[in-house]
């Protein structure tokens, strides 16, 4: 009894303050998005949905949200497709120098987003390619490819190779093996990779800031809103962005956990 209490005591002592630190800014953000006044500082007045209405009526914000969604979905789909093919190729076939190729695919993870963004800015301007949502999308595929590859590659286990071989013995072509056996087996990993990429793309700022030009994504518009200082509208927009990411993040978690439980 005392031992159990002591165990819970240390756990609470360690976890309590850290959880308070981790949740403090988010709690303040969400609370003051419901503020009725015009400056999001104590004392709290409300609750009111006034600022949510203001944000959802703002064409610049909603337009940017669509841009973010478009870039996110397309770039994540492409990153996931490239990653899945590469993971399958490197996990199932004996490719000489496979370790080096893996290392190359992981390498962008070890480079700051800012440097990747500056590199693309320089390369695109040298090649005469202007700033656009397409440029942002290309950048986001670069950022998300290593993560998507890591997720799918980690789930390619040798047991699946036997099922693929069985399909081949039964006369399936390589394309049939891939679409009828490999993809269904890897579906949780593929969905996880897609959702993870989507949340990262949805939130990504610096590459979008450098490459988006006149058609900004949502984080770039929120960045612009910060110029007005503390503003409940920014709280409301930030809370909405958080909720979308959270939904995608939870879905990612569920797919991956569902996979592990099996």
């Amino acid at each position: 009894m005392m031992a159990a209490l002591a165990r819970h005591g240390t756990a609470a002592l360690v976890m309590g303050p850290l959880f308070a630190f981790i949740y403090l800014p988010v709690a303040v953000l969400v609370l003051f998005s419901l503020h009725a006044g015009s400056v999001p500082v104590p004392p709290f007045e409300g609750p009111s949905l006034h600022w949510y209405r203001a944000v959802l009526d703002n064409d610049r914000v909603t337009g940017a949200a669509w841009n973010s969604l478009l870039v996110g979905v397309l770039s994540s789909a492409l990153a996931t497709l490239l990653a899945t093919l590469a993971a399958w190729g490197l996990a199932r076939h004996r490719v000489p120098g496979a370790r080096a190729l893996e290392a190359l695919l992981y390498l962008p993870l070890a480079v700051s987003y800012l440097v990747i963004g500056v590199g693309l800015l320089v390369a695109f301007s040298t090649a005469g390619i202007g700033k656009s949502l397409w440029a942002v999308g290309i950048g986001h595929v670069v950022l998300n490819l290593p993560l998507a590859f890591a997720v799918v590659y980690g789930q390619c286990d040798p047991g699946q190779a036997r099922l693929e071989q069985a399909a081949r013995d039964l006369g399936a072509s390589e394309a049939q093996v891939f679409t009828r056996v490999t993809v269904p087996l890897l579906r949780p990993a593929i969905l996880s990779a897609f959702l993870l990429s989507l949340t990262f793309s949805w939130d990504e700022f610096i590459v979008a800031f450098l490459l988006s030009g006149f058609d900004p994504t949502l984080p770039v518009v929120i960045w612009g809103m910060l110029r007005t200082g503390l503003n409940p509208a920014t709280n409301a927009a930030g809370t909405l962005v958080f909720l979308v990411s959270l939904a995608a993040g939870m879905a990612f978690e569920l797919f991956l956990v569902g996979r592990r439980a099996r």
């Binding site: 756990a11 360690v14 630190f21 981790i22 949740y23 800014p25 988010v26 303040v28 953000l29 003051f32 999001p40 500082v41 104590p42 093919l85 590469a86 399958w88 190729g89 490197l90 076939h93 004996r94 490719v95 496979a98 290392a103 190359l104 695919l105 992981y106 390498l107 993870l109 070890a110 480079v111 700051s112 800012l114 440097v115 990747i116 500056v118 590199g119 800015l121 320089v122 390369a123 040298t126 595929v141 670069v142 490819l145 590859f149 590659y153 980690g154 939130d203 700022f205 929120i222 910060l226 503390l230 927009a237 930030g238 962005v241 958080f242 990411s245 959270l246 995608a248 993040g249 956990v257």
Partner: protein, 300 residues
Amino acid sequence: MRAGLVAGGAARVFVEALGARRDARRGLALAAPALLWTAAFFLLPSGAIVLWSLFRREGAELVTDPSLDNYRRFLDNDSFRLAMWNSIEVTLLVTVLSVLLAYPLAWAIANRVAPARQRLWLMLAVLPFWTSYVVRSYAWLLVLAPEGVVNRALMALGLAREPLALSFNQGATVTGFVHFFVMLCTLTIYASLVRIDPRLRLAAADLGASGAQTFLRVTLPLSAPGVAAGAFLTFVICIGDYVTPQILGGNTQLLLPQVILLQISRRADIPMAAALSVVVLLLVTAAYLALARWLTTRRA
């Protein structure tokens, strides 16, 4: 007879080699799109950064005779060098604080929570990870601003007579960073803590080790890969982040990413921005070499 066997063996080896080559070609063909994308949009731009760092801007003109002028300017210019030292200082401080705070949290979840509920607690511990980082820094501004939550609370409790300068300085930048990286390091450290075989700790206890000795000689060394992975990711992301210092740090002590963006937006001096980006890459490489011993790219 023997010759026939040898020839048959040779033929089989040859056919197998052909098969292996076809297998390798197939694998390579599948990996090719991802590899080409990485080459075209990551390696090539990285090369472009190095190339452009050798150009220079004179007035409105771009001089493309390669020279090390930008690097010389970097070494001669106090504000550039100061930005680098600020960046190194902030990044090292953030990395150390994040690991020190994340370790007990990860440890408590791995050792003081029932196994069935660990996943849930870990998820709860990193939930604010999903706030966009622009929004996260702004949220810290709400907390730390002169009329923000902390200052209002301190004044209401009579602990401060006037607002403390909690925002627009390096302390605010470090706070914002540590908040994010505690969550990241908790994930990597937890992952390596749960992988430790509990029997190792029992064995240490059986051999007479105290709780502290078991922790220092068994648990801590075995969790080093998680600490190193978290520390490296923290270093890489932190040293390249523009948003957090720009929102929380004020204008007095700029960090390298802020100076890089200034070159691009204010001065349109892309060559100097490229040279400073190379400096960031060199710092990341140094961090990698320092932690390489513990960083393994094992397949999960």
